[in-house]
C-alpha cells in the first residue's frame, strides 16, 4: 500500500509492542498470545460488556473476538491502522453482530428509551486515569447531536439508520454528524498518523 504507516501517539494505555506481539502471534506463538491477551482483554471485554450489557453474553463474545484475533492475526495490516484499533474493530463487530441478530428492532428501540442516561453512565465509569479523563473531556466537547450519535452507534451498536430513527434526524445529517464527531475527537485526543 502507498499509505504511510500509521503512528498513534504513544500513551499509557497502549504500551509499545502490540504490533510485535501480533506479528509473533501470526506465526503461531502461543506465549506471545498470552502476553497479548493480558494487554487487550480488559478492553475487549469492557467493550463487549458496554454494547451487550449481559455479562454472560459479553464473556462469550469477548472469547469469540479474542480467538478471532489469534486466528486472523496474519491478516493484520499495519498500513491500515494500529494493532489495538484492529483488535477493537474485531471486538466491536462481534458485539454489534450479537446485538443486531438477537434483538428485534422494536425491542432495542424500547430498550434505548429506558437507557437514555447511558452516556452519563459512561462518563461516571471513567475513573481518574488520564486517558479516560481525556476521552471524557473530548466527548464533552462535542455537540449534543454528535455525542448522542457516537454514543448510540459505538456504545449501543445501532446502525446509523437506527440512530437517525432514535434521534428523529435525517439520514445524511446523522452520517455527517458521525464523521464530524470523530474528526473532532481525533483532533482532541491527538490521534495522528503519518
Amino acid at each position: 500500500m502507498t499509505s504511510p504507516r500509521p503512528r498513534v501517539r504513544p500513551d499509557a494505555a497502549e504500551p509499545p509492542g502490540l504490533d510485535d506481539l501480533l506479528r509473533r502471534v501470526a506465526r503461531g506463538d502461543e506465549d506471545a498470545f498470552a502476553v497479548l491477551y493480558d494487554r487487550i482483554a480488559p478492553r475487549v471485554y469492557g467493550l463487549a460488556l458496554r454494547v451487550i450489557r449481559d455479562p454472560a453474553q459479553a464473556e462469550e463474545v469477548a472469547q469469540e473476538a479474542l480467538v478471532d484475533v489469534w486466528r486472523t492475526a496474519g491478516r493484520y495490516d499495519p498500513a491500515r491502522g494500529s494493532a489495538i484499533s484492529w483488535v477493537l474493530t474485531i471486538a466491536h463487530r462481534r458485539a454489534v453482530d450479537r446485538v443486531r441478530s438477537e434483538q428485534a428492532t422494536a425491542d432495542r428501540t424500547r430498550r434505548a428509551a429506558v437507557t437514555e442516561v447511558a452516556f452519563d453512565e459512561v462518563v461516571e465509569e471513567a475513573t481518574a486515569r488520564f486517558e479516560q479523563q481525556q476521552v471524557r473531556r473530548c466527548l464533552g466537547n462535542l455537540t449534543e447531536l454528535q455525542r448522542e450519535a457516537v454514543d448510540l452507534a459505538y456504545y449501543h451498536g445501532y446502525s446509523y439508520r437506527e440512530v437517525a430513527e432514535l434521534l428523529g434526524a435525517a439520514l445524511p445529517t446523522v452520517k455527517t454528524r458521525m464523521r464530524d464527531a470523530l474528526i473532532r475527537l481525533r483532533d482532541c485526543l491527538g490521534v495522528s498518523f503519518g
Binding site: 500500500m1 499509505s3 500509521p6 498513534v8 501470526a26 502461543e30 498470545f33 491477551y37 493480558d38 482483554a41 480488559p42 478492553r43 469492557g46 467493550l47 458496554r50 462469550e60 472469547q63 469469540e64 480467538v67 478471532d68 486466528r71 486472523t72 496474519g74 491500515r80 491502522g81 494500529s82 489495538i84 484499533s85 477493537l88 474493530t89 466491536h92 453482530d97 443486531r100 441478530s101 428485534a104 428492532t105 422494536a106 459512561v122 465509569e125 486517558e131 476521552v135 471524557r136 457516537v150 452507534a153 446502525s159 446509523y160 439508520r161 455527517t176 458521525m178 464523521r179 464530524d180 464527531a181 470523530l182 474528526i183 475527537l185 481525533r186 485526543l189 490521534v191 498518523f193 503519518g194
Partner: protein, 241 residues
C-alpha cells in the same frame, strides 16, 4: 463518490449494514486518501474503549488460551496493488469480501462448542461456500432494491448457470412484532417458499436455490414461522427472467 465518502464516520463506528460495509470497502480500494481517514477515525473510535474497560473473569483467560491451542490460524491476505480494475472484477472482489465475511461469521463458534453448535457451524460453513460460489460465478448478475417503505436495501445476486441466487438484506425496517421477512420465488400465480430471515430479524444473507425457471423473487412480511403463501402484496419484488 462523495456520497459514499460521507459514510466514513459511520463505517468507523461500525454503524453500517453488511452491504454498505462491502460498498465502502470497495470504495477504499480506490481511494488512498480515504484509507488514511478511515484508519484515523477507526483509531479514534477505538479510544472510546478507554472509558469502558472492565476486568474479565479469570477463567476467561484459561478458556481462550485453551481454545487457541485447538484453533487453526489463517494465512495473510495478499493484497493486489491499488490500481484501476474493470467494474466487473471490482464487483467480483466485493462479492468475495461478502462471502469471506459470511465465512468469518460462520466459522467463529465459542469454546463452549457443544455438538449442536459445531454441526451448525459446519452447515453454515458449507452454505458460505455455496454463497461464495454464486457471488463469484462468471454469469453472476446483481440487482438491488430498497426495502419496504424505502428503508434499507435488498441485493440479489443471481447465477442462472448454478440455478441459485444470494439475497442480502441490510437495515430493513422491523417486520413487526412476532413477524418475519419471508422469501419467495414466483411463476405466474404460483409462489414457492424460499426461507425466512427469522422473527424480528432485519438483516442477513440467504442462499436461494431453484431460480432458473422462476419469473420473480419477492419478499413479504409474514407471521413468525412463515406462511405457505404470501399474505400481502410483496413490498419487494425483483425480476428473475
Amino acid at each position: 463518490m462523495s456520497d459514499i465518502h460521507t459514510l466514513s464516520g459511520a463505517y468507523a463506528l461500525d454503524a453500517v449494514d453488511d452491504i454498505e460495509r462491502v460498498a465502502f470497502a470497495r470504495h477504499l480500494e480506490e481511494c488512498p486518501a480515504c484509507v488514511r481517514e478511515v484508519a484515523e477515525l477507526t483509531a479514534t473510535a477505538a479510544r472510546l474503549v478507554d472509558a469502558v474497560t472492565a476486568v474479565p473473569p479469570a477463567w476467561l483467560r484459561e478458556r481462550v488460551l485453551d481454545e487457541i491451542g485447538r484453533t487453526r490460524q489463517i494465512g495473510p491476505l495478499i493484497r493486489r496493488p491499488a490500481h484501476a480494475v474493470p467494474a466487473t472484477r471490482r464487483w467480483r472482489r466485493a462479492a468475495v469480501a461478502v462471502a469471506a465475511a459470511v465465512v468469518l461469521v460462520a466459522a467463529g463458534g465459542g469454546a463452549l462448542a457443544q455438538e449442536q453448535r459445531v454441526r451448525d457451524a459446519q452447515r453454515q460453513a458449507a452454505q458460505a461456500a455455496e454463497i461464495e460460489a454464486v457471488l463469484t460465478a462468471p454469469d453472476a448478475m446483481v440487482q438491488a432494491a430498497p426495502g419496504p417503505d424505502g428503508l434499507g436495501r435488498v441485493t440479489l445476486v443471481t447465477s442462472r448457470a448454478r440455478d441459485e441466487a444470494v439475497a442480502a438484506f441490510g437495515g430493513l425496517e422491523s417486520p413487526g412484532v412476532d413477524r418475519t421477512y419471508q422469501l419467495w420465488t414466483q411463476r405466474g400465480d404460483q409462489s414457492t417458499d424460499k426461507g425466512k430471515l427469522g422473527t424480528g430479524v432485519t438483516s442477513g444473507t440467504v442462499l436461494v436455490a431453484g431460480v432458473r425457471t422462476e419469473q420473480k423473487f419477492a419478499v413479504t412480511r409474514e407471521p413468525a414461522g412463515g406462511s405457505t403463501a404470501p399474505t400481502e402484496v410483496p413490498p419487494v419484488s425483483l425480476k428473475l427472467d
